[in-house]
Subunit: 248 residues, 2 copies
């Protein structure tokens, strides 16, 4: 008995040779995922790709069509390995143009030291919107439903409030967790019964390895708090004496 | 003048609702990426997806055909949200069958407490190989070029030596880094010249945000150490007095 419309969907394209080589660990995905969850948006797919224009363009074309929102991370600087602007322009079939607004901001920032290299940061896909808030005044580029986020984690984080402000809040996801000393092999029939009854609640089972405090963590997630709680209660009612260890 | 064959390629499918909801941060990708790099294999693409059989099957079908090696992470336990075995079987057009070898190991491990749930961990795609080493005796399932790795980070890590042993070592990638106090806008023309001359060296530019010790880190990567060093030298020769801050 789901009582809510299905959530809006999102995907992300995480860009950078340094991530696929293992030289750098991505720090942006988890922040984006948690933000979207609070906004009631379901992140359904993340793709991590190299700094290749055509590869990125293909992903953006596909994912912007199949999801309500798309986020790219990385590749928006001025150097040869920054190809996201060009790729997004290709994906949407538009040219790359100089934004007069961003050019003026860059010239004001760099003054006499402003180079052609600096001004490349004013390039945008034609028709892109420049999103700002009162607190975050440096623009975030949005091409239709596709947000071009910077790869540098500190800057990525600074722009999260812009996304939150512009996407608006839908019913957030709620989450409950139950910790048990039972292993998954024993839990399976109990879980199957709850999963069958609560198709609109996402039930997860996560065994812990080498941890004395519990053996398996069960999670119950959804946007309808009453249904999530009912699924937890149905599961708890099936547990043997002495269980669960705790509920969060 | 590349002197080496192109590297073998790899892709990864990281599976789990808990990753896309931001409840858990993936810790397996970076370890896999660094391992492959040491083995001389280029990781070209990572896809993170939900616990959905058909979604995973589609990815495995596509990526196992377009890469030399494919690795999945997650979804290999006995519960309802563990659908990777079924998905890989679908991708390769085979049935899911009980492995007598793994069944015997599970029965030996659980003894009289062994349940049907436990025995689900003996299910494999028909025709799969069970890979072990002397040190890592619990089998890792390999279906042709596709390795089914567990999502639990501690267990994932334990199985890395099996991959290293079975894939064998190719010429590893080497990496150099140059730190400068110059910003990317100023560096761009210098970098472009080096990138043009050294097409076989992967040159990366990573600005640092709010760090007093340097402004931009340049990386030079490849499997031909002499070419990588030549690219570094060509870049250093173009820097003004007082630069670089350091070379690693």
């Amino acid at each position: 008995m789901p009582t809510l419309e299905p959530p809006k969907t999102a995907a992300a394209v995480i860009i950078g040779n340094e991530l696929l080589s293992g030289k750098t660990e991505d720090g942006n995905l988890a922040i984006l995922a948690r933000t979207l969850r609070q906004l009631g948006v379901q992140l359904r797919r993340v793709v991590m790709v190299l700094d290749e224009v055509e590869t990125i363009a293909r992903e953006v074309r596909e994912l912007s069509r199949t999801h309500d929102h798309l986020f790219t991370s990385g590749g928006v600087g001025p150097t040869h390995d920054d190809v996201t602007i060009e790729a997004v322009a290709r994906a949407f079939g538009v040219r790359v143009v100089m934004s007069p607004e961003m050019e003026a901001m860059l010239r004001a920032h760099y003054g006499e030291k402003c180079t052609d290299g600096h001004l490349r940061m004013a390039l945008v896909p034609e028709g892109a919107a420049l999103e700002t808030t009162v607190q975050v005044r440096w623009p975030t580029i949005r091409m239709q439903n596709t947000w071009l986020m910077p790869g540098i984690p500190e800057v990525f984080r600074m722009k999260i409030p812009v996304i939150a402000a512009k996407l608006g809040h839908d019913q957030a996801f709620v989450s409950r967790a139950v910790y048990t000393a039972m292993d998954e092999g024993v839990l399976k029939p109990l879980l199957d019964a709850v999963v069958d009854e609560f198709r609109d609640v996402d039930v997860g089972s996560y065994p812990k390895w080498m941890d004395a405090s519990y053996k398996t963590k069960l999670t119950f997630d959804g946007r309808d708090e009453a249904r999530v709680q009912a699924a937890v209660d149905a599961f708890l009612a099936r547990l043997p004496a002495g269980e669960p260890l705790r509920v969060e």
